[in-house]
Subunit: 155 residues, 3 copies
């Protein structure tokens, strides 16, 4: 078992089987040392753990937990891309956090922090990343949040 | 004529002259083997083929066709970037599909599939890509969808 | 003083101290020749220079000025990433402009042009970039616009 997977397990996080794309695309593409991960939803066993707009269909705290699940799913896709050799991950380069939020909502950073914190827990200093967090009028399957990731990997 | 252009023609798709940016930027930037294409709208001969929010100003099926046009426009920009040598495209790395959609809309993946399917038709296995699909409160010129692309190219 | 910093000063632009991330992430990540800058808000001395949805909380012209500030903040982060050696910037590769805009808004390109023009003023031809401009239902801290950037740098 890879040491990062072990480390995650010690934190009570088990990497799920990576989610199958909900449509006509692939979950990742590797170009040189950049690994691009498709936007991940807070799916657990193929079902959304949370749904709805933040502060309407779910609370801020639930959305934050949802973002954490998105990040775990990003790592699960990375594991699949790297034949489970998560040690090849040099750093988390960039996360984009899309938050399902109405006009006037201002706490996107708090939501996406759920994903960012997970990356730091998983990878330590190498898990610290550039980021954008924005508000979306709606998201696929009515998810409260979607996170896409770029990892730096060694060959 | 390049074989990919021929292949597209055989599918009834003719690459348009690439659209002029609607503002103060350039349609593409090449860095190493990554070709970044600016967000493309469903413009045909300089006019939007479809407008309005999905399910309001246009139907889901129209938005899907619009996404297909966005993807064709991405390829047209890539052709311009590569002096028409589309054979230099190694893979489609990533699409981001921005869907003009109200709160509660859930079918962004179906819309953006219009773009994804086109890429697979055009490039086969190499056309399969990572992707994010999200809902936007509004889009430039009231377009129903905007698609940006990253291609992997050889030098 | 770096010549680009001097050039900016001659244009009346002084690079601010780079903003501290508003949450749990880092302002930039450098991978090979790509420098990824986190989404920047129109912060001046730690406060938003403008707030609110375009055409509601602020005017189009104000949002355009806000986008200009976002771009300056992107350059300030790049300066921090490069130990103030802005000469290492080869080109501005890509801007993504997220505009806080209601349904029906169509002038995202005009808003984001505030950022794009600044890049061209700062870097000349090398400042011309690929771009996407989209509408967001809301943005962090109720900012009218957020801009993220990718720069190409030499080592």
């Amino acid at each position: 078992m890879s040491s990062i997977r072990q480390h995650l397990a010690s934190l009570g996080m088990e990497l799920p089987r990576p989610a199958v794309p909900v449509a006509n695309y692939v979950p990742f593409r590797l170009v040189g040392e950049l690994l691009f991960i498709s936007g991940q939803l807070p799916l657990v066993d193929g079902k959304l753990a949370y749904t709805g707009q933040v502060n309407v269909g779910c609370t801020l705290e639930e959305a934050r937990k949802a973002a954490r699940i998105c990040a775990i799913n990003c790592i699960a896709q990375a594991a699949a891309a790297l034949d489970d050799e998560l040690e090849r991950i040099v750093s988390v380069v960039k996360l984009t956090g899309y938050v399902n939020a109405a006009g006037g909502f201002v706490d996107h950073p708090k939501v996406v922090d759920g994903a960012s914190a997970l990356m730091t827990e998983a990878f330590g200093e190498a898990g610290r990343h550039a980021r954008a967090a924005v508000g979306c009028s709606s998201l696929p399957l009515d998810a409260p949040v979607e996170v896409e990731a770029v990892f730096q990997v060694r060959s």
